[in-house]
């Protein structure tokens, strides 16, 4: 016999299903009047600090078809590299920046976020991570939410030293790089197949 570890087990994940919008973006699917605005629809308020950017992309399945029923959530630091979170102990993040956004993909599987470019954040063992945005994707047919990250094409030097990108085989790193064009950053997510996005177990 042996002592118990007194640990609970994490509740198993189940797919969000095809009607996830009812719960996460009710106004998008016509359930109006319960909540005035869907959560995560606006990430920035007037007076936000930093460089305004728009992140645009599509989510595609293994046949290249749009995943038109998914929900994409993002989480990122503010322009100074601080998270707007009670678990952030390094300082107070920009009060005009939520850091978190949620978007229901449209018929083309497209999502869009109006946000700011994040600052750099410390990584493990004294490293510094390159600017990045964390993504989480759920949908029908996704049994457990998929975590990935978007880095920036205009941060080549920082990306080279990023402790997370260094864990990824070089041939697959481009799947994690958002392509910067002016104020827009393009980032498509391929769930499977050619150019399959790198997903993380974090």
């Amino acid at each position: 016999m042996v002592q118990h570890l007194d640990r609970l087990r994490e509740t198993p994940s189940q797919t969000a299903g095809p009607y996830v919008h009812i719960g996460l973006t009710p106004n998008v699917c016509g359930i109006t009047g319960v909540t005035p605005e869907d959560l995560g629809a606006r990430m920035v308020a007037d007076g936000v600090r930093g460089e305004r950017i728009t992140i645009r992309g599509r989510v595609l399945d293994g046949a290249g078809r749009p995943v038109n029923d998914c929900i994409v959530e993002i989480w990122q630091a503010d322009a100074a590299g601080l998270y707007n979170s009670p678990a952030e102990h390094r300082g107070r993040a920009d009060p005009n920046f939520a850091g978190w956004g949620r978007c229901a993909a449209d018929e083309e599987g497209a999502f869009v976020f109006e946000t700011v470019k994040p600052g750099r954040v410390p990584g493990p063992n004294g490293t510094t991570m390159a600017p990045h945005v964390s993504f989480w994707i759920v949908a029908r047919g996704i049994n457990i939410g998929l975590h990935t990250r978007m880095y920036f094409s205009d941060e080549e030097a920082a990306n080279r030293d990023d402790p997370v990108l260094r864990r990824v085989v070089p041939a697959r790193v481009p799947t994690l790089i958002g392509r910067r064009e002016g104020d827009t950053v393009h980032f498509d997510i391929h769930l499977q197949g050619d150019g399959e996005t790198v997903f993380f177990d974090v």
């Binding site: 198993p12 319960v34 029923d69 678990a87 493990p124």
Partner: protein
């Protein structure tokens, strides 16, 4: 206090590794929608960084008075959703057994006939004009949430020729860190449809399936009004940081 000597799992501590064997695999061909949506490459693992140890928080100001009353929150004034009236309550805990306070729990479900209020839903059961199917709560200081609703109906879905979902309520839960983000489904004690469901069957471990089945809780029923079901949700725990991971001599 030197944090390296603290045996507390602080809010900024890394998460224990996720036990992937307890969750359904991405590729589960009995649930056909996974076939083209499951990544085929291995996940790249790394210990949570600040980007996963932190997560968004929501204030009580976002919660409306009827947000946790699905019987009334979409109903016309003076009317109510049709169905078996139930209360669903429980706690959000972490793997260390600690309550997780002040986190957002969102839930959605079909109506009593098994029909969702969604533009892509085509099941022939009728909509209930007084039922939207959406609600949300923030957990209290002891991690508790509760809501009132009607028991959802089972419904057929296009997978096999005759596949039906057991009665269920979908849950989305935030923790204190983005790595804890979880979506799951709650089933009802005693439902014979549970073991037949291809989505339930994506989970291999019977003990893990049991964790998704809410217990009938007659002690918390409201006499002459509604019955109650208890559904606790466990999020990933943070590990204790007895010793930081540092090269010797630093």
């Amino acid at each position: 206090m030197d944090k390296r000597l603290s045996n507390l799992a602080s809010e900024a501590a890394p998460f224990m590794a996720r036990d992937r064997g307890r969750h359904p695999p991405a590729y589960a061909p009995g649930y056909k929608s996974t076939i083209l949506r499951a990544p085929r490459e291995a996940l790249v693992s790394f210990e949570s960084t600040l980007s996963e140890k932190t997560g968004p928080a929501f204030g009580h100001n976002i919660i409306g008075a009827l947000d946790n009353d699905l019987i009334r929150n979409f109903a016309k004034p003076g009317e109510a959703a049709i169905g078996e009236r139930i209360i669903v309550h429980g706690r959000v805990l972490d793997e260390n057994g600690r309550p997780v306070p002040d986190v957002l729990v969102e839930y959605w479900q079909a109506n009593a006939g098994g029909r969702y209020r969604h533009k892509r839903e085509g099941y022939l059961a009728p909509l209930d004009p007084n039922f939207g199917g959406f609600g949300r709560s923030l957990t209290d200081s002891e991690g508790r949430y509760w809501f009132r609703t009607i028991r959802p109906g089972a419904y057929p879905w296009p997978n096999g020729v005759n596949d039906w979902r057991p009665a269920h309520i979908h849950f989305s839960v935030f923790g204190s860190g983005f790595a804890q983000r979880l979506i799951t489904q709650m089933y009802f004690e005693g439902d014979p449809m549970i073991p037949q469901c291809p989505i339930v069957r994506t989970i291999a471990d019977p003990a893990a399936v049991a964790q998704l089945v809410a217990a009938l809780d007659m002690a918390n029923a409201v006499p002459m009004d509604c019955r109650a079901y208890k559904f606790d949700i466990v999020l990933r725990g943070r590990r204790s940081t007895f010793f930081e991971n540092r090269p010797e001599g630093n």
